[in-house]
Symmetry: C2
Subunit: 543 residues, 2 copies
C-alpha cells in the first residue's frame, strides 16, 4: 500500500453505534420534517392520528381541540387536546418521547398509527428546533397530572421533569400536549394544517374537531354522525400471509404446548380439517412437539404446504372503511363538483394474507382537477386508514395506479386538462407505507390492481354521464338551429303548399319540441342512472 | 364510561419497546426491499456502494466482482468481492449485522453511504427470506478470516459463528460477502442489477466492475481512468449551516477548553476576526468558559449572530463530482443520442452551510426520452454522490425541479413526446435523502434551484442546436424545391430572354448552391458552438 492508503486499523477506529433517535435527529426529513409548512402539518398529523386512535380504541366519540399560536418568527406553539383515556404516568414518557415504543407496533388491527414513532418524533423535532421538550397533561380514570417530557437523544430514553398533580373535579379524561416548534410556518395552503384538519374531519364524520388558528380564528368541524364507526376487530393473521420467518416468530412466541394447537390458536381459518390436511402434506413434522422447537426448514415446509392448500379468505371485519356516504360527502365538501361517482370494492388481501379494502370517488366539474394537490394537474386525494396523505404523492402506489389507467378509453384524451379529481382510500390492518413519514404507499401489486379496478369502474360511470351531457349538448344545438329557421321554413312551406304558414309553424314547433323533450329527458335519466350506479360491484377485469 | 369503553390501564398493558431492526423487519419496503427485482438491486446497491466507499477511503483503485447465482425459484445467491482493506474481526459483526453502526454516520465528508444501515439491512433481508445470515471473508493487512454473520433482530446485535482463519499467501486485501435471498428476481430491466452496475460504472470510471449473471454470462466494465478521483476532503461544518441544537452538540462534544478556540477549531471560516465580531454582537457571552457550559439560549444567540455576519463560502474541496467528461460519457453510453450538452454548476450550500454541487447533461435523439426510467415519458437519470438512483423518482426533488421548468420557453411544447433525457447528478457531504432506502432527494429549495438553473442552461444549448437543425431543414426543403424546377425555369427564362437555357441553368445553379452552402455551413457552426458551449457558467437567473 502507498502512503496515501489507509489500513483497516485506522479506518475503523471511527466505528460507532448510534441510536435510532440520533438517526432521525440527523435525517428528520425522513419523518416528514422538511419544509416549513409541511413540518407543522406533520406534527399536527401525528398528534391528531394518535388522538383518533386512542378514542376509537377506547370506544369514545372523539372531541379534538387544536390551538396554534405564533410565538416569534417562524415559531409556533401548538396544543392538542383529546377526550380519550389519557396515558398513565408510568408509560407517558416512553409513549411521547421514545422512538419505537407503543401499543400498536405488533398488533394486527387497523389503526392510523402503526409504528410507535410519530409522537416521539414530535418531541424530537420540538427539542432540536427550540431546545425544549413538550408539556403534557394526562387525565386517566385513576390519576390526573402534568409534566415536561424531553428526549435523551443519544439513548432514545425519555426524561420526565416537573411532574405535578392536577385537579380533576369533573372527572374529565384525555390527553393534552403542548409543543413549540421553530422553523415552521402556518399557511392556509393545500399542504397546511387547515386543509389537513378539514380532510380529516371529512372522512371521520364521528369526530368533532376544532382548530384555533394563529390569528385567533376558530374553525369548528362538528361531528355529522352520532355513532362510532364499525370497530375494526383485531384479526389473527391469515396463513396465506405468512413467510417462514413470520411463522417462526409466532412459533417462538407461542404459549401453545403443541404445534397443532399453535396453528389453530395463532392463525385464522386454521381448523382441525386444515391441520389434518397439513399432516398428510408434511408427514415428517411432529405435530405434538412444542411450537418453539420448529426449525427454519420445518417453517419453510409449513409455508410451502400452506401455499398448496385451499383457504377461506381472511375475515374482513378487521377493516373499517370510510363508506360510500363518507367518500361522497368528503368530495362534495372539498371540491363542490357537478358529478360524483363512488365505488367501493370488496375486501381483498395482499402479500397473500393481509386484508385491505379500496374505495374511490370520482369528481367532475367544480374545483375538481384544480386543487393543486399534485404537480400533475389531475388531482388525486389520497387517504390511508382515514388519514389524509398530503405529501410525497409522486411515488405513491395510489398515484401510480391512477396514472397507469388507459384514460383515453374513457373518453379522456388529455388528463392534464380535465376537471376531474379522484379520491382514493385504502384501509388495512397494515398499510405498507413507503417511508417512515407514512405519506405514500409502497407498490404492492394487489393494492394497485384494486385501485385500478375501482377507478376504472368510476370512470365508466363518468363516461356515461359525460356521454349524456354530450348528447344533450348536440340535441340542444340542433334544436336551437331548427328553431331559428322555423319561421322562414314555415313561410316557404306555406307558399309551396298553399297552406297557412302559422298553422305549419305551430305543428312543426310541436313536433320538434316533443322529439327533443324526450331526448333531453333521456340524457337526464342517464345522468341519474350514472349517479346512482355507485354501489354496483364492477366486473373483474384487468386493463 | 360504558362497558364498551376501555381505560388507560388495560389499553397500555400492551405497551412495548422495539428495536430498530424489528422495525425494519416489519417495514422492509422502507429499506428498498419491495418488489422482487428492486429487492435484488437494493442488496447489490448496498454492497457495491460500501465497496466503492471503502476503496476510496483507503486510496485504492476499486476492483469489484459480483456474482449472481440462481438457487431455486426466485432464490439467488450473491457474492460481492472488493479489493479494499477488509474489516477487522472485532468490528465485522457490527459492520455487517447491526443497524445504525458504522464509520460514516457522523462524518462530514462526501461518501455514498451515510447511515450505517445498508449492509445490516442486507443481512436482515437474507435472514427473513432464507433463515440464514451471510458469509463473509475478510482480508486485512493483519488478519485473514471467514465467518457466518447473522442478526439478533430483537436486540439489533450481530451473531458471529464458525470463524476460521484463511490462508493469504498473496497478501490480498478486501472483503467478500456471500448472501442468499428468496422472493427476488434477476431481470435485465431498467430497474435490474445489470442496469445498476452499468450506470455505476459509467459515473465511476476509475472503478473496474465485473458482473457474472445467473446464466453465467460475464459483463466486464473495465476502468477507463487510471487515477482515483480527486478525494473529497472531510470538511469542518460551515457556521451558516448550524442550528442551535447542532452547535450545542458540537460544544458538548468539544475538547477545546474555551468557547473562542472551540469556534475556530470546530468550524470552517471561523478566524480571529470573526470571533472578535461575534464578541461585539454577543457581549454577554463568556468566550473564556468551557464550551460544554454553553446553554441553549446562548446557542440560539450564537446562531442568530452567525446569521447577521458575513461569511466566506464553505470550502468546496469536500465535493468530488463526476465531471463533464464523466457525465457526457455516461449519457453517450446509456442513450447514444445525437446531441449532448453538459452543464456543471459551481459548488453551493444548502440549509445555510452544507456544500453541494449540481451537474447535468441533456441528451437529444437516440434512446433519449425512451429509457422507461420514470412513469412520465421524459426520462430523468438521477445520481447522488455517484450512485445511480433507480427508484422512487416520482417524489424526488430532482424530478420535481426538472418538471417545474417552463419547457415551452425552450421550444418544447409537449415534454411527453420529445426524445430528450436529462441526467442530473448531486454531490454533497450530506445528501438529504427523503427515505431510509436513499432513492430520492428531499425538496431542499437551494438544491432544486441549482438543478433548475443547470437544466435551463442545458436547454438553451439544446434550443440553439434544434434551431440550427430547423433552419437547416427549411433551407434543404427550399433548395430541393428550387432545384426541382430549375430546368423548367431555365427553359422558360431562355425563351423569354432569348438567351441560352443551359447557360442560364448553370449560372442559376451556381448562385443557389453558393447561397445555400453558406446557410448549411452556418447551421453546422451553430451546432458545434452549441455542443462546445458546455462549460460556460450560466447567468444567475431564476425562472
Amino acid at each position: 500500500m502507498s502512503n496515501e492508503q489507509k489500513n483497516a486499523e485506522n479506518v475503523f477506529k471511527e466505528f460507532k453505534e448510534h441510536s435510532v433517535t440520533e438517526f432521525f435527529r440527523k435525517n428528520r426529513q425522513m419523518l416528514g420534517y422538511s419544509g416549513k409548512v409541511r413540518s407543522l402539518t406533520t406534527a399536527i398529523h401525528e398528534y391528531v392520528t394518535n388522538s383518533l386512535d386512542a378514542c376509537e380504541e377506547a370506544g369514545i366519540m372523539p372531541e379534538i381541540y387544536l390551538k396554534i399560536q405564533q410565538n416569534g418568527e417562524e415559531r409556533y406553539i401548538i396544543t392538542v387536546r383529546d377526550n380519550a383515556i389519557g396515558i398513565p404516568k408510568k408509560i407517558i414518557g416512553k409513549a411521547l418521547a421514545s422512538v419505537l415504543s407503543g401499543t400498536k407496533f405488533h398488533r394486527y388491527v387497523q389503526q392510523r398509527g402503526q409504528q410507535g414513532i410519530g409522537a416521539a418524533g414530535c418531541t424530537l423535532f420540538a427539542q432540536i428546533t427550540t431546545g425544549k421538550g413538550i408539556h403534557a397533561k394526562s387525565y386517566t380514570d385513576s390519576e390526573a397530572f402534568e409534566c415536561d417530557i424531553s428526549l435523551d437523544i443519544k439513548n432514545n430514553k425519555p426524561i420526565i421533569e416537573n411532574v405535578a398533580k392536577l385537579e380533576n373535579p369533573t372527572n374529565m379524561h384525555g390527553l393534552e400536549v403542548t409543543a413549540e416548534f421553530a422553523g415552521v410556518k402556518y399557511e392556509k395552503s393545500v399542504h397546511g394544517v387547515y386543509e389537513y384538519v378539514k380532510r380529516t374531519a371529512m372522512v371521520n364524520p364521528h369526530a368533532s374537531l376544532t382548530l384555533l388558528d394563529p390569528e385567533g380564528k376558530e374553525y369548528v368541524f362538528p361531528r355529522s354522525v352520532e355513532e362510532l364507526p364499525k370497530k375494526a376487530k383485531q384479526a389473527k393473521p391469515h396463513p396465506l400471509g405468512l413467510e417462514a420467518a413470520d411463522l417462526l416468530d409466532f412459533a417462538h412466541a407461542s404459549t401453545s404446548n403443541k404445534v397443532s394447537t399453535f396453528f389453530s390458536e395463532s392463525f385464522s381459518r386454521f381448523g382441525p380439517a386444515k391441520i389434518d390436511e397439513m399432516k398428510t402434506l408434511i408427514p415428517e413434522l411432529d405435530f405434538d412437539k412444542e411450537p418453539r422447537n420448529i426449525t427454519w426448514n420445518e417453517s419453510e415446509a409449513i409455508v410451502n404446504a400452506i401455499k398448496k392448500m385451499k383457504w377461506v379468505s381472511p375475515e374482513t371485519d378487521s377493516i373499517s372503511e370510510i363508506g360510500d356516504a363518507g367518500i361522497e360527502a368528503a368530495i362534495r365538501n372539498i371540491l363542490n363538483p357537478e358529478f360524483v361517482s363512488v365505488v367501493q370494492r370488496k375486501p381483498k388481501v395482499f402479500k397473500g394474507g393481509i386484508p385491505f379494502l379500496v374505495e374511490i370517488g370520482i369528481a367532475y366539474g367544480g374545483a375538481a382537477g384544480r386543487s393543486g394537490e399534485e404537480s400533475a394537474s389531475m388531482s388525486i386525494l389520497r387517504f390511508a386508514n382515514k388519514v389524509p396523505l398530503l405529501f410525497d404523492g409522486g411515488s405513491c402506489a395510489i398515484t401510480e395506479a391512477v396514472r397507469d389507467i388507459a384514460w383515453k378509453r374513457y373518453g379522456i384524451n388529455d388528463i392534464d386538462n380535465v376537471p376531474v379529481s379522484i379520491l382514493v382510500s385504502i384501509c388495512s390492518v397494515y398499510v405498507p407505507y413507503a417511508g417512515v413519514g407514512k405519506q405514500s404507499v409502497a407498490p404492492e401489486s394487489e393494492i394497485e390492481d384494486e385501485i385500478k379496478l375501482a377507478v376504472m369502474d368510476g370512470l365508466r360511470n363518468l363516461q356515461r354521464y359525460l356521454h349524456g351531457m354530450k348528447n344533450k349538448g348536440i340535441a340542444e344545438t340542433r334544436y336551437k338551429t331548427i328553431m331559428r329557421y322555423i319561421g322562414q321554413l314555415s313561410e316557404d312551406l306555406g307558399e309551396l303548399t298553399g297552406k297557412d304558414a302559422v298553422t305549419i309553424e305551430n305543428s312543426l314547433r310541436n313536433l320538434i319540441e316533443t322529439k327533443y323533450k324526450s331526448l333531453f329527458a333521456n340524457s337526464e335519466e342517464e345522468k341519474e342512472e350514472a349517479a346512482s350506479d355507485e354501489s354496483q360491484e364492477p366486473e373483474e377485469q384487468e386493463n
